[in-house]
């Protein structure tokens, strides 16, 4: 008895290697492929982001069970008590703040100091004006209206060629 072949769909995406962050992602993909974990990482990553955006941590704790115990939270859904969600979010914030970071990410604490200076795991933040981080989201480029069409000709190329050849004989 022959088996039906599974119904499969393939999705591609671009990385701009001129951008350091995306180049890092490309390197990471190569590494994941050597470990044969690229596709699973993509699947898990999408599940995780979508779940977190909904305010859930179910997938987060499914993938990182240790995190659940460290945060002391429960895998709640949007139907749970608001106070539980708030506590989980507070725990997450504290966890991130307590970790040492060497990135340029600006982290807001609950009570900003009057002087504007923040202590960030030993790194002092400069008293610089705030601005939006550059976005590396390629989806934004879709709004630029760059549509490829056929180049328009003025039909003069043959005449140009004739003139060039005649000039060569001068």
């Amino acid at each position: 008895m022959s088996q039906k072949s599974p119904h499969r769909n393939r999705f591609n995406f671009w990385l701009n290697l001129d951008k350091p962050d995306e180049e890092k992602i490309a390197d990471t993909i190569e590494h994941l492929k050597t470990e044969r974990s690229f596709t699973k990482t993509i699947r898990d990553g999408i599940r995780l982001i979508v779940d977190l955006r909904k305010g859930n941590t179910e997938v987060l704790f499914e993938l990182f069970p240790d995190l659940e115990s460290r945060l002391g939270g429960s895998s709640g859904s949007s139907g749970d008590d608001d106070s539980d969600i708030k506590r989980e979010i507070d725990n997450l914030k504290q966890l991130i703040i307590s970790q040492t970071t060497n990135s340029n990410t600006h982290i807001m604490s609950e009570q900003p100091k009057p002087s504007g200076l923040q202590s960030l795991g030993g790194v002092k933040q400069l008293n610089a004006p705030q601005f939006d981080k550059p976005s590396y989201d390629d989806d934004e480029d879709d709004d630029l209206g760059l549509v490829v069409t056929k180049a328009v000709s003025d039909g003069q190329a043959s005449l140009n060629f004739l003139a060039s050849m005649n000039a060569l004989q001068q």
Binding site: A151, S158, N160, F161, L162, M165, N166, L168
Partner: protein, 359 residues
């Protein structure tokens, strides 16, 4: 106004020539090779003895083209940078005129070609040679009672490759074609026996200063196909040890024309088709690596690549797979569809001459 308008592409490997005839043209072609012959006859008639057509060239007699295989004595080619305007070159041009035009002779508007990188020097050499002959070309064939005499009323020298572009830019009457064929950036690749010429144009215009770097000497069909195939063939057996690149060239031309790539020598025969196809792919890759990618950025930003010359027939299928939608398809343009890649320069030269005359 000349009696005849003729373009002669006397290449290192093959001589192609065309003569304007109304809206069409007559054409001839022969390998650029000659061999010394006596032309003597036993008087037995053609039924009983081998008859060789020869050219009487001054006090010498030569068989021409594939007829050299009948004698194989003192077979002579002249390939390389120093041939343009020399005695051998003049011989080829004279024979072409003699074969194309009527015996009675007449005045000729003559167009000839030279590799782009050698263009200015070659042009000077050619003009000097013809000036020495007072612009008179004479040639006598077997059976002629007296030499045929042609007066070169007008001489034009074009860079190889660009002559071929003339074929795309102009129609049969020499009128510019209004189309997008040469729109944007175009690269012309002329692959001959000894040289590869590659030129880039923008909207039909080219930079004369770029001609200097447009020729790869010693990278033509001889180096990449004939020498390599000959080396392989010679190892096949004693019957093949005395063969030359002329034999391989003949087999190759036959094969491209008829599909029969049998190389026969003595009692032995080899089918060269597989070896030719394999080497043609290698040659195509060499061109892709060194010229198309190495010099022309893989044709990024280039609208089309025009392939010209004998090498074009060998590599175009493979290059089409490497650069899809970039190779200009002559069959899509009525005014070029019937012109063989080896005739593109000559026919282009003819059309440029017609354009010049009607200006």
């Amino acid at each position: 106004m000349s009696d005849y308008i003729v373009a002669v592409d006397a290449g290192n490997g093959f001589t192609n020539a065309v003569r304007a005839k109304g809206k069409s043209y007559d054409s001839i072609g022969f390998p650029s090779v000659r061999a010394a012959v006596t032309g003597d006859s036993l008087g037995l008639g053609e039924q009983f003895e081998m008859s060789i057509d020869y050219v009487q060239w001054g006090s010498f007699r030569y068989s021409l083209g594939d007829d050299v295989f009948m004698s194989r004595k003192a077979v002579e080619r002249h390939q390389g940078a120093f041939r343009y305007g020399d005695e051998f070159w003049l011989f080829l041009v004279s024979v072409a005129l003699g074969k194309l035009l009527p015996k009675k002779g007449g005045s000729v508007d003559l167009t000839v070609f030279a590799p782009p990188a050698l263009f200015f020097d070659a042009k000077e050499g050619i003009e000097y040679r013809l000036k020495q002959t007072k612009n008179i070309i004479t040639v006598q064939f077997k059976g002629d009672k007296k030499p045929r005499v042609f007066k070169i009323a007008s001489l034009t020298v074009h860079p190889e490759g660009l002559g071929a572009v003339g074929c795309y830019a102009l129609d049969d009457a020499g009128k510019p074609i209004v189309s997008d064929i040469l729109t944007g950036d175009t690269v012309v690749l002329d692959m001959g026996m000894y040289t590869i010429d590659a030129l880039q144009m923008s909207e039909g215009k080219f930079n004369p200063e770029s001609l200097q770097s447009a020729t790869w000497e010693g990278q033509g069909i001889k180096a990449h196909m004939l020498d390599i195939l000959l080396n392989q063939v010679k190892k096949a057996g004693a019957d093949f040890e005395l063969l030359t690149t002329d034999d391989i060239d003949l087999c190759l031309r036959n094969g491209l024309k008829t599909g029969d790539y049998a190389l026969v020598s003595g009692a032995s025969s080899i089918d060269l088709q597989k070896a030719v196809n394999k080497q043609a792919v290698r040659y195509g890759d060499w061109i892709a690596n060194n010229i198309i990618d190495g010099v022309f950025n893989g044709l990024r930003g280039v609208k089309s690549l025009i392939l010209v010359g004998g090498g074009a027939t060998l590599v175009q299928d493979h290059l089409k797979t490497q650069y899809p939608n970039k190779i200009l398809d002559a069959s899509q343009h009525n005014h070029v569809a019937d012109v063989h890649p080896t005739l593109l320069n000559a026919v282009g030269g003819l059309r440029l001459a017609l354009a010049r005359q009607s200006a």
